[in-house]
């Protein structure tokens, strides 16, 4: 457990520095910027889920008054192949074709042309004047159908990767992955009880409130500035440069405030179009997606089919497990089957296991990251299987998990041995939690599930400027999605020993601070925080040197304590401590302004575990499910800003419950999404959920100065199974497929005899 350290700022919950502007409407989001002479870009999208483009006639649109530019796939440079790089992965050629179709459209809503015009209405009229001739092809919408050898192919050049030899025939299976250890046949032979089942998890959207938006302004030399809402403006710059084959130095990206991303704003959609349109039109071009476009044409997370087999002895010890996992990639390869395969058994000690995972092309939007991408799907299936085992064996679900829980030294299914982790601490906390020890409400069921995510580090930069009065300006390159500016200020305050209120944080653009990867992967508080701490340590070293020069002693005879330089014990006791303000005020005489900086590629991210339990009640007449209580316990390593950590846990729980109970992409047989709006794609609102109770466990990550693990992704993993397990226990009926929407629940109850 956490060694008690008496922090002054870390672990408190001060007011966020960006809060006032956000609640008063001053904060500038992606669609809020307007430039002189600005025009508007709009995208023509495919009415077919799968079709060959035979020809595009833009002549009528180009001739319309008020139309400044029209582009199609022919206006893009030949795509290079190769990795996009950065956090998201994927292939540049696929990214380019996803932004603007070339010879084929691969999902309903796929972009086929774009216009820039004097107003949005003129732009829409111009889109209507563009004629596209299609050869309509049969759409492939179902995972299992897409995997058949005779299925219509999305890409005739797609040959399954990671097989021992390149297959002779192309396939919609873009890649396979296998993991394994021991001998599963032997392990299952040792089992007294085996449970198995097939679970289906639907494609779901991140549900961020702010649609994608940007403004691009190109000058006559081609140098272009882009303002956009993004989780990572440096990576957006890199992607745009690669897609358009531009010199990265000719692109400047400025991140606006962001109204949610959850992984969905790690990929460019509009930005390269706006740059190209602005270059052609010689005017600033603003582009904003409608909510419908967000649903139809940006990346949701994969739907999946997960088959689990789990064996155990009568005492609950797991003897073997196997998983077959198929993930929808959407139109281009890149489903999160790898993380799904690596997480499915991660919380447990397993001598014998095997996992087979598939990345499958279907005629739906190319998937993007969504909190812990891949883990909620596979772990939903495993955690449901454990619940079935718990019922069969008559063992409390927390006790059963504790009996098999991984701990420091356990060999993770994906390879290495775990360093110190907090799974057992979370389970122990859950077992004695008052919400768990109290009786289950009459008519309800209580479900338990475990969540896991690796968390990542990656590259971050930070600069710390000490103003002449000792106040601090902190510049970072990580867009603030979940309150990270406050967390950065807190870590700087703790390190420097100055009050939190004396520090201001800002997000630098791509020309004014060092490279930083996206705000994603639960990495920002960990990695950018580490850069901030290092930059502050740089400042402290400089301040000690300045104080030493002022006092005429050696730098190693100076200590830094409570925001002041003090003489080390034994050094001239007459010396008066020098505060940061005093050193900064005297900076001109001691070497000039104080600027600390750090750039790093943070390693040693600490794995995050959670335990959720929930009480759900089912209306047997309507099938409606109500969440009566929900408790989320998670190891944060060290919570920098406690209220934000709680907020991350609560937000993940709400999204996971939405996915479990209501959210899904519904397609017709032609591959047209039927619920592309928040009225029909129903995310939970405040009145749908009870207060999400949280408990933060702190098993410090030894790789971070304050022990941070990262908390943003783990919280979405466990709610799916916690909800499903509660419904199963409330009704006595196990429903394998999500969401547990009233029609499905009612049908299952009726099939089971009411």
């Amino acid at each position: 457990m956490s060694e008690a350290i008496d922090y002054k700022v870390i672990g408190t919950s001060p007011i966020r520095p960006d809060g006032v502007d956000k609640v008063t409407g001053r904060a500038q989001y992606g669609a809020d910027l307007n430039l002189p002479n600005q025009i508007y870009g709009k995208v023509l999208r495919s009415p077919h889920a799968h079709a060959r483009i035979l020809g595009i006639d833009t002549s009528r649109a180009r001739a319309m008054p008020g139309v400044f530019a029209v582009i199609t796939g022919a206006d893009f440079p030949e795509s290079e192949r190769g990795a996009i790089g950065g956090e998201g992965g994927g292939d540049v050629s696929d990214l380019a074709k996803n932004i603007m179709a070339r010879d084929k459209v691969l999902y309903h809503g796929h972009a086929v042309a774009a216009v820039a015009a004097s107003s949005q209405s003129v732009a829409e009229a111009a889109l209507a004047a563009i004629e596209v001739r299609y050869e309509v092809l049969p759409p492939v919408l179902d995972l299992l159908s897409a995997m058949q050898p005779d299925a219509p192919l999305l890409d005739p050049n797609c040959f399954t990767k990671n097989l021992p030899e390149k297959p002779e025939r192309p396939s919609n299976i873009a890649a396979v992955m296998k993991l394994g250890r021991g001998n599963v046949d032997e392990g299952f032979a040792q089992a007294d009880v085996i449970v198995e089942g097939e679970y289906r998890i639907p494609m779901a959207h991140q549900g961020y409130i702010e649609p994608h938006a940007c403004v691009a302004s190109a000058n006559e030399q081609g140098q272009t500035t882009v303002w956009c809402c993004t989780q990572g403006h440096f990576e957006f710059r890199a992607m745009t440069a690669k897609v358009l084959r531009m010199n990265i130095a000719d692109l400047k990206f400025i991140a606006s405030e962001i109204g949610g991303g959850f992984g969905g704003k790690t990929v460019v959609y509009l930005e390269p179009l706006a740059v190209l349109l602005s270059r052609k039109a010689r005017r600033p071009v603003k582009m904003m997606m409608t909510r419908e476009e967000v649903f139809r044409a940006t990346g949701p997370t994969s739907g999946a089919i997960c088959r689990i087999r789990l064996g155990a002895r009568r005492d609950g010890t797991f003897t073997a497990a196997s998983a077959w996992l198929a993930y929808e990639a959407g139109a281009y390869a890149g489903a999160p089957m790898g993380p799904g395969a690596m997480t499915v058994f991660a919380p447990y000690v397993l001598e014998h296991f095997q996992v087979e995972a598939f990345d499958v092309l279907v005629n739906k939007p190319k998937v993007a990251a969504y909190r812990a991408p891949g883990a909620p799907q596979s772990m939903y299936a495993m955690e449901c299987a454990i619940d079935e085992l718990s019922i069969r064996l008559g063992i409390d679900p927390i006790d059963l998990r504790l009996k098999n829980a991984a701990e420091a030294g356990t060999q993770a299914p994906y390879g290495p041995k775990f360093p110190p982790i907090g799974l057992k601490a979370c389970l122990e906390a859950a077992r004695v939690h008052p919400n768990y020890t109290r009786p289950v409400p009459a008519g309800a069921g209580r479900g338990v599930a475990v969540g896991f995510w690796f968390n990542v580090g990656m590259q971050s930069s930070a600069e710390v400027h000490i103003n002449e009065n000792g106040t601090v300006t902190l510049v970072e390159g990580s867009p603030d999605i979940g309150g990270s500016r406050a967390s950065m200020c807190m870590m700087a305050a703790e390190t420097l020993g100055v009050p939190y209120e004396q520090i201001r944080a800002l997000i630098g653009d791509t020309e004014s601070t060092g490279f930083s990867n996206v705000t994603g992967g639960s990495r920002t508080t960990f990695a950018t925080g580490m850069a901030v701490v290092r930059a502050c340590e740089d400042i402290i070293a400089q301040c000690k040197a300045r104080a030493a020069a002022t006092w005429g002693v050696d730098a190693d005879q100076v200590l830094w304590e409570d925001g002041r330089a003090i003489p080390a014990p034994g050094v001239n006791a007459e010396l008066k401590p020098l505060s940061l303000a005093e050193i900064a005020g005297n900076a001109a005489r001691t070497g000039g302004p104080l600027l600390g900086r750090a750039s790093l590629n943070a390693q040693g991210a600490g794995a995050g575990f959670s335990v959720n339990f929930a009480d759900l009640a089912v209306d047997r007449e309507t099938g409606k499910v109500d969440v009566l209580a929900f408790t989320a316990i998670q190891d944060a390593g060290k919570a920098i800003h406690r209220a934000y950590v709680e907020g991350q846990i609560q937000g993940g729980a709400a999204q996971g419950l939405g996915w479990a109970l209501n959210e899904e992409y519904i397609y017709d047989e032609q591959g047209v999404m039927q619920n592309a709006g928040f009225l029909d794609y129903r995310i939970p609102v405040a009145s749908d959920l009870p207060m999400i109770d949280t408990q933060i466990i702190e098993v410090p990550n030894p790789s971070h100065p304050f022990g941070v693990r990262g908390v943003g992704e783990t919280p979405i993993v466990a709610p799916l199974a916690a909800a499903a397990n509660a419904v199963a226990r409330a009704t006595g009926v196990r429903i394998h497929d999500l969401p547990l929407a009233p029609p499905r629940v009612l049908a299952a109850l009726e099939a089971a005899g009411g």
């Binding site: 992965g89 990671n162 030899e165 992955m177 296998k178 990251a369 991408p373 994906y414 968390n455």
Partner: protein, 80 residues
């Protein structure tokens, strides 16, 4: 000699060999040793995340490897 465990999706580069012992004092040297043993493998291995003695690195190029280290190659991890 470091004990190196190859992820299943990389076995195509190693002729199916799952575990190998190689002399390397750093990850950079390990990549060279792998490429020497299986010419052309370097690029695929360099794209992976790696765990050295339990610590996961997305980019381990300069990380030291001990004589008795355990090294696992694994898929790079993304996130939302």
């Amino acid at each position: 000699m470091a004990r190196v465990v190859i992820a299943d999706h990389l076995l195509v580069y190693t002729g199916g060999q799952h575990v190998v012992e190689l002399p390397a004092a750093s990850f950079r040297e390990l990549l060279e040793a792998l490429d020497e043993r299986w010419p052309g493998a370097r690029e695929a291995f360099a794209r992976c995340a790696v765990a050295i003695d339990g610590q996961i690195y997305q980019d381990a190029y300069l990380e030291p490897i001990g004589k008795d280290s355990e090294v696992f190659f694994m898929q790079r991890i993304e996130g939302g």
